[in-house]
Each structure stands twice: as structure tokens, then as C-alpha cells.
Amino acid sequence: MDEMVWLIRKTLKDTFRKKKNWFLYFGLPIVGILISLFFYSNASTGTIRAGVVNQDGSQVVTSGVIRYLEGLGQVQVTPLDEETLRARIASGDLDCGIIFEQGFADRVKTGEPGHIRIMSVKGESVTAYIKAMLQSYIGNVAAIGKETKGDEAAFARIYDSYSQHPFKLKATAQPDTSNEKMMSYQTIGYLITFMMFSAANLSEIILKEKENRTFLRLLSSPMSARAYVLSNVVVSLLLIFLQIVVTLVAMKLIFHIDAGMPTFPLIVVLLLFALTAIGLALTIVAFAKSTSAAGAMRNMIITPSCLLAGCYFPVNIMPETVRKISSFLPQHWLLDSIDQLQQGQSLGSLYVNLLILGGFALVFALIAVYRFGKNNDSRQFV
């Protein structure tokens, strides 16, 4: 116990001595907040200036979509022709352009949206929001189209009631909180990635110590292998906890983003996920033969799985198959918990999610322990 505290102290001291680590563990999540702010903010930079080209004539559905965009309150819509649109995007006069090509409305009515183009020179940072919003709205309308199977009258009736009531109300009634919720959701999406990378980095200390042989030297002191690995886990947990706190504090006090949920349950689910991330990191370390191998595995696993789980873009803009895959990823269950917490659910009602997250952590830990045990049998480190 005593020697564990000694080792933990030393590892923390070592970690905080390097400026690079400060940026890695605390700077990056704050950069994450900044990016989220940029994605979803309309308070600071004003609205997104979008030029709209309607080549689809006076279709009800098309003008409905345009009205919906205007109704969002964050998009300033200017009707234009394509040529002017291109010129004004190029000159930086507009943030992005949306072109409804001929046949757009017909495609929506058949349930298979198409003939819509979004362009921007400012890249994903501007278009992601518009894409996400359009996708969900058009998706809903297309669903009506699919349901009514080409029955124009039925479509018109249902569409009419749909576009009159619920959505417009929802979109305009509380744009500010939903916006902040999205910012905090996105911030947490990035935080997930950084937590996972932090856990991987910290576990790789084990491999580094094997490579410079201090691991073996430590084991020749009264420190056992088990105590050593446990100390490493404690360090990871402490640092990730700090990372969470720093991110949440910065979000709230510096950037004034309201997470839209109480802080305590948020920290609980994040910490539970931290355990999962540490479990995964240990599994990587247990299977990797060297730090470079572990580094390769870490990069191969973390970013793609975060992408699939919806850490960077909402999953609902992704294809159905991707959404199904994401259920097998722990990040999905954390994001889902955050979503539900934002919708006002209590921590207790999320027990399924919490169990799944805990399960992931347990399984990873067991695999790592089993694998470490095998390594020690063959004395790989001697």
C-alpha cells in the first residue's frame, strides 16, 4: 500500500512535469469546447448565412424546407440563383449554399430524398449543423412520402399538419437551450475521445517501463506486479477525473454553456466511462508487444470507434447499419445516457446504460488481467 502511494506520487509528479501533458490532458478538451462553440454558436458570430437556390419551382415541400430553415432562427436564408451563390460563397459573403435541384420534392415524396446539394468553402464546421438539421427534417417528410405511397392527397394532408404544428413550435420556442445542449453534447463527444486517448497514454507507461527495464527493477523492490498495475489504474483514474472536472468547469464558468442536466449524474456517467476507457487501455497494453505497437492499436481503435458511436456527428445523420454497429460501442451508451439526462431523465432510470457501461469496463479488465497473467507466466519481461 505504502509503496503504491509512493509510485502514484512519482508518476503524477512525472506527468505534470511535462508541459506537453498539460496540453494533452487539459488543453485538448478545452479546444474541444471551442470547436463545439464554433459549430453550434450563433450568439457570437451571428447566424449562419446561407444562400438558397430553388430550381424545383413552386413545390410545397421545397418551400417548406426553406421555411423550416428560416424558422430555425440560426440560419439567415437568402434566395439566389446558382451563379450569384457561387460568387458570394467564394467572396466569403455567404457561409454556405443549399441548392434544391429540380425533382427534389418528388424524390422526397417517394421517400428517397435526393437532388439537394450543400456547398461551402468553410468546410464541415459550418455545414455539419445545417446538414444535421436538414437530414432530420427531410427524413421526417420523406417518411410521410414513403407511408403514403404516392397518394398525393394523403401526403398533402399529413404533410400539412406536420409542417404546421409541432416542429416549428419546437424549433422556435426554445432555440437557446437546445443550442447549448448541443454544444455541451458535442463537447462531451470530444471529451470522450480525449479521455480514451489519455487512458491509453497513461497505460502505455507500463510498456514504457518494460522497455526501459524499470518495470523489472520495480518488481525487484517490495512492489508486486499487481500493486504496480493497480497504481497505474489509480493514476489514470485521477487524471481523467481531473480532466472531466476541468472540462466541465471551463464549459460552465468560462464559456457559459449550460449542460442542460445536473452536474452530479453527469460526472457519475463520465467516471463510469473512464473505467471502461482504462479497461480498454489496459487490454491494448496487455496485447501490445511494444509502445509503438500499442500506439498503432490505440489510433486504430479510438478515433474510428468514436466516429461510429457519434462523438463527432450525431448518429441520426448516419446510415442505419452504422447506427446498429454503434450499439456495440461503449461510447454510444455514454452519449445515449447524456442525451437522456439532457431530456430530464434521472440517473436511476438509466440503470440499463450504466450496467452496460460497467459491463464493458469489467470485460475489458478481465481480458487484460487474464492476458497479463499469461505474460507473467512466460516472463516476457525478463
Binding site: 509510485l7 512519482k10 526501459n212 524499470t214 520495480l218 525487484s220 517490495p222
Partner: protein
């Protein structure tokens, strides 16, 4: 003399490979015990079992009266190991390195500071407290490696080839500190490839080959094993090509080794073959510079017993 360490029938297998083969050995208090053996002889494996880093396949290790195969914590508390490969933190200062390792053995506060300073001064790094090992020479790193193992003043200090590839100054420091530690009451196990070192500092020596102890005793006891052999050293000019095989064919010659410009030939003392050896060398057009007969030493013992060179 009470025994600090008793090893009985110690065996270690890696799969089917027997690295240490039924070794039995006693080391008394206050000894500097030398393990001499070629590469792969099983020295490090034996040492790692004594330090409880490896579990023996078979056999007993009794340290200070306690069977440590069952109580590894006791072994770890009472030994200090200087690993064959450097095990220090390059990004921590010399002081922090020693202090960290000593702290693992429970030292804290003023005691820790005192012992850390002592250990560093001991290996001649007293003026390098705040320097980082990444700026050290190979020899200084080795000395720091030693300081890390002795700060907690263990009963038994195990040094696994502490002088590999270092400058003469560091080497002298290390040999001196081994003697000083010994005078302070530490028992020391010392492995080396360097015959001269072992001859110089060890009170008793075991020659290890293929995991077995093939001879054991003081330097005098060991050399007396081979009173029937002599060693002839022949100096020559560098450019001649030496045919070691043809020399080995000469009656009485048991081993031949070339070390730079010197041929070292071990031969049975009762066979008078010096003329034949010189004839052969002249035939091979070797330009002889000097010929001398050596009294039997550890090196010739080793060569005779194992038929191997100590160094590759």
C-alpha cells in the same frame, strides 16, 4: 560462519530448455561471491530467482534463514539488485532516481534524504544530484544504477555485470565501492565477464557453465585444480594470419585463444611442446615478438574447465 544465502537443488526451465540445472550453493556473511560464466551460462537467471523475480522450477532458496520461494516480499526487502541492463529513469534527476527507489523500501523523510546522499556520494556522483542521466556517460549511468540498489542498505547486494562497457575511472569507482560496501557488512554477489575483476575482489568464486556450477572455491583453490597445466602467451605482429586449428592439433595443447596481438595457449604442463608451437608459427609466417609462460590463473582454469572463452 553463518550463511546469508543457501541454494539447494535450484533448477529453472524455460519450456524444455534448462537454464539453471540443479544448483547447490552456500554464501556466507561478509563474502564477495563471484559468478563467472560465459554468455547464456545462467548467471542472470540464478540471480533473478534469488531476487524473487523468477519462480524456480524446482529447489529451495533460503535467505537469512527464510525460505524465500514462499516469501518473496522478504527477499525483496533484504536484497538490492543491480540489474545487468540499466534500469533508471532518464527524465528524473540522479537524486530523484535514488530517492524514488529507496522510497520503495519504506525509507522516508530525513532518513531517505541522508541515505540518498550517501549512496550518491558512494558511487562518486555526490556532485551530480540535480543532473539528468540522459546527459551521463555510460559509466556514470552504471554508477547511478548501483546507487539505486544500495541506498536502502540491504543485507545482500546482487550485482549483475555492473562494469560492462565502461571507462576505467567508473570501473575503479565501482570496484572500490563494492569493497567499501563489503567492509560495511554487506554480502555481495558479483557476476562478471571480466576475469581480472573477479580475481581482484571476490572472496569466493563459482564457475558456471550450462546452468551448472562446475567449480567453486577461492582463487587459490580454483587455480590449484589445474596445476597440471601451463599457459603460454605469445606476442606477434598484427598482420600475420594465425591458424588456430593447426596449433590446437599440437600434442598437449588443450585450448588456444587469440586476444589482439597475443596468442594464449593452455597446455598440459608435462608435455614439452614449446618448440613445436614456435615451429608451427614460423611455418605460418607469424612474426613472433615475445614468448612467456604464465602461472595458472582463473582464466586458464575457466578455459580448461569449460573449453570456452569467457567473452565472445
Amino acid at each position: 560462519m553463518s550463511h546469508v544465502l543457501e541454494i539447494r537443488n535450484l533448477t529453472k526451465k524455460f519450456g524444455d530448455f534448462i537454464a539453471v540445472d540443479n544448483m547447490t550453493l552456500n554464501i556466507g556473511e561478509g563474502e564477495i561471491f563471484g559468478f563467472l560464466g560465459a554468455n547464456g551460462a545462467g548467471k542472470s537467471t540464478t540471480i533473478n530467482m534469488i531476487a524473487s523475480l523468477l519462480r524456480p522450477t524446482k529447489g529451495e532458496i533460503v535467505l537469512l534463514g527464510k525460505n524465500i520461494v514462499k516469501d518473496s516480499k522478504f527477499a525483496k526487502m533484504n536484497t538490492g539488485i543491480v540489474p545487468q541492463e540499466l534500469a533508471i529513469y532518464e527524465d528524473m534527476t540522479a537524486y530523484e532516481n535514488v530517492s524514488f527507489f529507496a522510497g520503495l523500501y519504506g525509507l522516508r523523510g530525513a532518513m531517505l534524504r541522508e541515505r540518498t546522499e550517501e549512496a550518491l556520494a558512494f558511487v562518486g556522483l555526490g556532485d551530480k544530484h540535480q543532473s539528468f542521466p540522459k546527459n551521463f556517460s555510460g559509466g556514470m549511468k552504471r554508477r547511478l544504477n548501483i546507487a539505486c540498489a544500495i541506498a536502502h542498505l540491504p543485507k545482500l547486494i546482487i550485482m549483475d555485470e555492473p562494469t560492462v562497457g565502461i571507462d576505467p575511472q567508473s570501473r575503479n569507482y565501482i570496484l572500490q565501492s563494492v569493497r567499501k560496501l563489503n567492509e560495511m557488512g554487506c554480502t555481495i554477489i558479483y557476476t562478471s565477464h571480466y576475469m581480472e575483476e573477479v580475481e581482484e575482489i571476490c572472496t569466493r568464486i563459482a564457475i558456471v557453465d550450462h546452468g551448472k556450477i562446475i567449480a567453486e572455491g577461492t582463487k587459490e583453490q580454483l587455480t590449484s585444480i589445474i596445476t597440471d597445466t601451463k599457459e603460454i602467451w605469445i606476442g606477434f605482429r598484427a598482420d600475420g594470419a594465425i591458424s588456430i586449428e593447426s596449433l590446437q592439433g599440437i600434442a598437449g595443447v588443450t585450448a588456444v585463444r587469440q586476444e589482439e596481438n597475443t596468442l594464449k595457449i593452455v597446455s598440459k604442463s608435462e608435455v614439452n611442446n614449446l618448440n613445436r608451437i614456435i615451429q608451427q608459427l614460423i611455418k605460418d609466417q607469424v612474426e613472433i615478438r615475445s614468448v612467456e609462460e604464465q602461472a595458472p590463473n582463473l582464466e586458464s582454469v575457466f578455459l580448461t574447465l569449460t573449453g570456452r572463452n569467457l567473452r565472445d
